[in-house]
């Protein structure tokens, strides 16, 4: 056995506290990537043995058994067996058991022990077990299992040194044979044995009325549960939109300032324009979403860490079942109201691959925050500001656009679950974990990792696209006195595009705005502003001035069609990029692009012609 590349793997049921233990053992020295060919996260980090020797520790996805029922479990099985390409077979296996759930978790543990590999057991969350009145005897468990059993409390850093020592000892004791393998038994036998072993390890058990049961009585209450969930979600949304604003303004100001600085520092040239209008403006337009994403993920990670997320899925399952999805799809779709990128990133918690794919494909239909600037300009310009009953007409139109997005997503999900993602109606089987207080460190680490993924992946993609768009808009150069846009490749594309979008009421200026808006929807506003040569300082003024311009040039039917277009149009490169990443290829992002464009075209067209027929043309 090679000494320099010692690998250990954490294995356990979902909710055994594996991730917290992994964070405690490795600190921030973690590498997160996907296993090749699947969207299962590979988390690896460096753990240090008492001798000072580093060990690569891999956190395997939670698993109920080595008979895989999900891509996650398949990876866990392959890594343990040494069949996962690019992943060394672990030298030591660390089984993580939830102390308060021994009978259940010992089923997987026995299956692993049957392999006869060097193994150590971490009896995790012993503090929570004690809170519930359950006192265990690690020594009894150790003699029953035949491998070292170390009591740990990951979040309080209890037992970590002992665990590291046990890992070192397990590796050194036997190089190849490991402990005596337990005989292979069937699942019912394993369960029976688990029951016996667990019973033998319990020193005392007072059946206190468990804390989580009392909390659930309120949070899962058939009438009170849903209103509590919606109240919480309301707070989350408020936070995403209001708390983020100052940070977004600051970042926006930073990007503008940097652009101005470069503009003043360099002599006028194409290179300077490329830096300011292309690179800085483009990347800046993406970075401004970082505060929203961080705030949203703060809530999502907290809900996950406390155990409330599973309850939210429980409460929403019935509704989601109506369109062939399950409660697990609820949170990703909800997140997509802020931005589809974190929404799609959070679909990883959906175990069923078809459910997950469907959720990813409909996520862009949820009205994200980037559509707001577009909606705001058009509604402000074309929809009269008057009252309809107790609500304003403008607000009503905005609300309608949101509803159309949700209804569209539901309809598309329904159709997909009967066609391309057809399969048995996805069920909903999910453990409801115990409530826990999240640790600041785990939350901070999670936030940092999400932020990094967003910046690196979406950032590089956006950067590339922005550069390409800038090139398309600036080449070939126009002759002196002629309009650059007309001469550019983008201008020619817009001319071609105008023919295609004319039937749905769009003019050439709109066609031109649609091209750069591929990078991000809100760019449509600034491109229209450029096209109509509106000169104004800040965004608000631009919006107002642009509105006046538009009123003169567009009919109401065109404006409504433009709104309908943006409900469906997949105009966001970050979403395409993250879909490619999460589905491992170009097949599904291409499909997503195609179906959304078709929907956008059909709905914009229908809106235009209905409006024209109604005399609004």
């Amino acid at each position: 056995m090679s000494r320099q590349a010692c690998t250990a793997a954490l294995v356990g049921n979902p909710n055994a506290g594996k991730s917290a233990l992994f964070n405690a053992l490795t600190g921030a020295r973690q590498k997160i990537a996907n296993y090749p060919g699947v969207t299962v996260e590979r988390k690896a980090g460096r753990m240090v043995l008492p001798s000072g020797e580093p060990v690569e520790l891999v956190d395997l996805p939670g698993s109920y058994g080595l008979n895989a029922t999900s891509p996650d479990e398949e990876v866990t099985r392959k890594v343990i067996m040494g069949e996962q390409p690019g992943q060394a077979k672990p030298d030591v296996i660390v089984i993580v058991l939830d102390a308060s759930n021994l009978e259940q978790h010992l089923v997987l543990a026995q299956e692993i022990l049957e392999l006869g590999r060097p193994t150590v057991v971490a009896l995790n969350m012993v503090d929570l077990a004690e809170r519930d009145g359950l006192i265990l005897d690690p020594a009894a468990l150790q003699s029953a299992l035949g491998v070292p059993v170390i009591p740990t409390v990951a979040v309080r850093r209890r037992g970590l040194v002992e665990l590291a020592a046990a890992v070192a000892a397990a590796r050194d004791a036997v190089s190849d044979t490991g402990p005596v393998a337990r005989p292979h038994v069937t699942l019912p036998e394993r369960r029976m044995l688990a029951h016996e072993i667990a019973a033998g390890a319990i020193l005392s058990e007072t059946r206190k009325h468990r804390l989580h049961a009392r909390i659930d009585q309120l949070l899962l209450h058939p009438w009170l549960g849903p209103p509590i969930l919606f109240a919480l979600l309301f707070v989350v949304f408020q936070a995403v939109f209001t708390w983020a604003t100052p940070f977004q303004d600051a970042l926006d100001g930073l990007a503008t300032g940097l652009g101005d600085f470069v503009r003043n520092a360099l002599p006028p040239s194409l290179v300077r324009d490329f830096l300011t209008d292309g690179v800085i403006a483009g990347v800046g337009s993406v970075i401004v979403f970082l505060p929203q994403i961080l705030i949203l993920f703060f809530f999502i990670l907290t809900m996950e860490a406390t155990g409330y997320m599973a309850r939210a899925a429980f409460l929403m399952d019935r509704l989601m079942a109506g369109v062939g999805l399950s409660g697990r799809s609820f949170i990703p779709l909800l997140s997509s109201f802020a931005c589809a990128v974190p929404g799609i990133m959070s679909t990883r918690s959906i175990t069923d691959p078809k459910d997950r794919l469907t959720t990813i494909l409909v996520a862009p239909l949820m009205t994200c925050s980037a559509r707001l600037p577009v909606y705001a300009v058009i509604i402000g310009a074309f929809i009269p500001n008057r009252q309809v009953g107790i609500v304003g007409l403008q607000g009503l139109v905005l609300f309608t656009l949101y509803v159309v997005g949700v209804v569209g997503a539901m309809a598309v999900a329904l159709v997909m679950r009967r066609s391309i993602t057809k399969g048995a109606a996805s069920g909903f089987i999910m453990e409801l974990p115990k409530y826990q207080l999240p640790t600041v460190k785990d939350l901070a680490l999670g936030l940092f990792q999400r932020a990094w993924i967003f910046l690196r992946r979406a950032g590089t993609m956006i950067f590339t696209v922005t550069v390409v768009l800038w090139l398309l808009l600036n080449f070939p150069r126009a002759e002196a006195g002629k309009d650059q846009v007309d001469a550019s490749i983008a201008g020619h594309i817009a001319n071609g595009l105008a023919v295609v979008v004319e039937p749905i009421g769009f003019n050439r200026d709109i066609a031109l705005a649609l091209i750069p808006a591929m990078a991000a929807r809100e760019v449509a506003v600034s491109s229209l502003a450029t096209t109509y040569a509106v000169s104004a300082g800040d965004d608000d003024q631009t919006a107002r001035a642009l509105g006046d311009q538009l009123k003169g040039k567009w009919s109401l039917a065109t404006a409504l069609a433009f709104l309908a277009w943006f409900v469906f149009a997949p105009q966001c490169m970050s979403t395409i990029a993250v879909t490619r990443r999460e589905t491992n290829g170009w097949k599904w992002p291409s499909f997503m692009l195609a179906y959304l464009f078709v929907l956008a075209y059909v709905f914009a067209g229908a809106t235009y012609w209905i409006a024209v027929a109604a005399g609004l043309g």
Binding site: L187, R207, G327
Partner: protein
Amino acid sequence: MTLDELPLGTPARIMSVDWDALVPEEAQRLRALGIDEGARVSLAYRGVFLTRDPLAVEIGRMTVALRRAHARAMTVNRVEESIPA
């Protein structure tokens, strides 16, 4: 009586499961969670509003959410005495 008809909080034992009524992966998942013939279960919560779906089933010290369709495939018998400590 099937599991979905069990009154809330009543301890029961799963007597038989109509595995054919379940999707193979889901059957496997339920079994992996210990929801199988012979298991002691009770219903903790039942759906939102008037839907009675999904169900939260307590098994050992674990709570598992599942759909009514799954529960309907499981025949249960009430267990009279309380769970021994």
